[in-house]
């Protein structure tokens, strides 16, 4: 089966996120009321797997082995069959 996934990677809560903080300040400068901004990175991954369960397991492994550093990053993904 073919799958398409969107992976979101962001700094874990508790670590300062200079990019998010800078963006928040700029948004406030533009007149918006902003409580917080957290920067994140998104990947779109197209791949094949036997079934959805396997696809989720494989994608999770990809996240742990390359797309994130588990020390500092949180990640989530949305996966759909195509």
């Amino acid at each position: 089966m073919k799958y398409n996934a969107k992976v979101y990677v962001s700094l874990k809560k508790g670590y300062s996120d200079p990019e998010g903080e800078t963006a928040a300040n700029a948004l406030r400068g533009l007149g918006y009321t902003v409580d917080d901004v957290r920067a994140s990175k998104a990947y779109e991954v197209s791949f094949q797997a036997e079934d959805r369960e396997t696809a989720e397991a494989v994608l999770d492994e990809m996240c742990r082995r390359l797309l994130t550093n588990p020390t500092k990053d949180d990640y989530s993904f949305e996966i759909r069959e195509v």
Partner: protein, 271 residues
């Protein structure tokens, strides 16, 4: 081992940009420094022909995904076994800036229980964005890191940093315990300090990136894998040091030389 017989391998990858300065520093000390593209090393799998392995600074693979991540994974799946053997022989492995990021991402640093399959610490994005400035790092190692035995204890080395991701952090729930472990195992070798030699205590710009505990560099428990963010190769010659014009003429060598001399002396004595 005679100095002129020492073979230093400086690997480069797409985006490496501190290779020539590092080669020049080693060659000035009379060793054979080989600048080889990583693809060639992957093909020839001849790491063990060399005595020292250096990952120079730069922005390998455009810092895509995370600084050092792609090069590190490539090392893992192309010559992971050879690199493990190289480390096990006790030969020095040095990562400067991007090289430090590679050694963290490969799991060789801090390497509490040998190489870890996933990175145990991180070099996160800086507190003040990209930083290109002179800093001071103090050698606080107690001798475990053989590579640094030629650098007097407490010596402060002034040299530049140039990175966007160098904020040394450890998992939040383990940071204090692991800091203690780094001290206990004498793995904490370089901390950022102020002009008077006192620790930066997180203050910018002396601690240029917001690194936890002002950590600029660490080694593995065995002391032969060493990584740090600042660039001693950019402070090797006297004319590279800031403010020499005030003295009229530069000294022959700058602060960074002591590091390279220490590496060479270690290999001369140990092998």
């Amino acid at each position: 081992m005679k100095r002129e017989e020492i073979d230093v391998l400086l690997m480069r990858a797409p985006g490496t940009n501190c290779d020539l300065e590092t080669v020049r520093a080693f060659r000035d000390l009379g060793v054979r420094a080989h600048l080889v593209h990583s693809q060639r090393v992957f093909k020839e799998k001849n790491l063990l022909d060399y005595d020292v392995l250096v990952f120079p600074g730069g922005f390998s693979y455009g810092d895509y995904v995370r600084s050092g991540a792609i090069w590190a994974k490539e090392m893992e799946y192309r010559i992971g076994k050879e690199m493990g053997e190289f480390v096990d022989t006790g030969r020095p492995v040095i990562g400067i800036c991007n090289g430090f990021q590679v050694l963290v991402e490969t799991g060789f640093l801090p390497g509490f229980e040998g190489r870890s399959p996933e990175p145990q610490v991180a070099l996160a994005n800086n507190s003040h964005g990209y930083q290109n400035r002179w800093v001071r790092m103090k050698n606080i190692g107690k001798g475990n890191c053989g590579i640094l035995r030629g650098v007097p204890k407490g010596q402060v080395i002034a040299c530049p940093v140039a990175h966007g991701e160098g904020r040394f952090i450890m998992p939040q729930d383990k940071a204090e315990a692991w800091l203690e472990r780094l001290y206990d195992q004498d793995q904490l070798v370089f901390r950022y300090v102020k002009g008077d030699g006192d620790y930066a205590e997180g203050s910018w710009p002396e601690n240029p990136n917001g690194a936890y505990h002002d950590i600029a560099g660490i080694c593995n428990p065995e002391g032969n894998v060493l990584g740090f963010m600042p660039h001693p190769e950019r402070a090797y010659f006297g004319y590279l040091m800031p403010e020499w014009t005030k003295k009229g003429r530069p000294d022959e060598y700058g602060d960074g030389r002591v590091f390279f001399e220490s590496v060479v002396r270690y290999v001369e004595a140990r092998f």
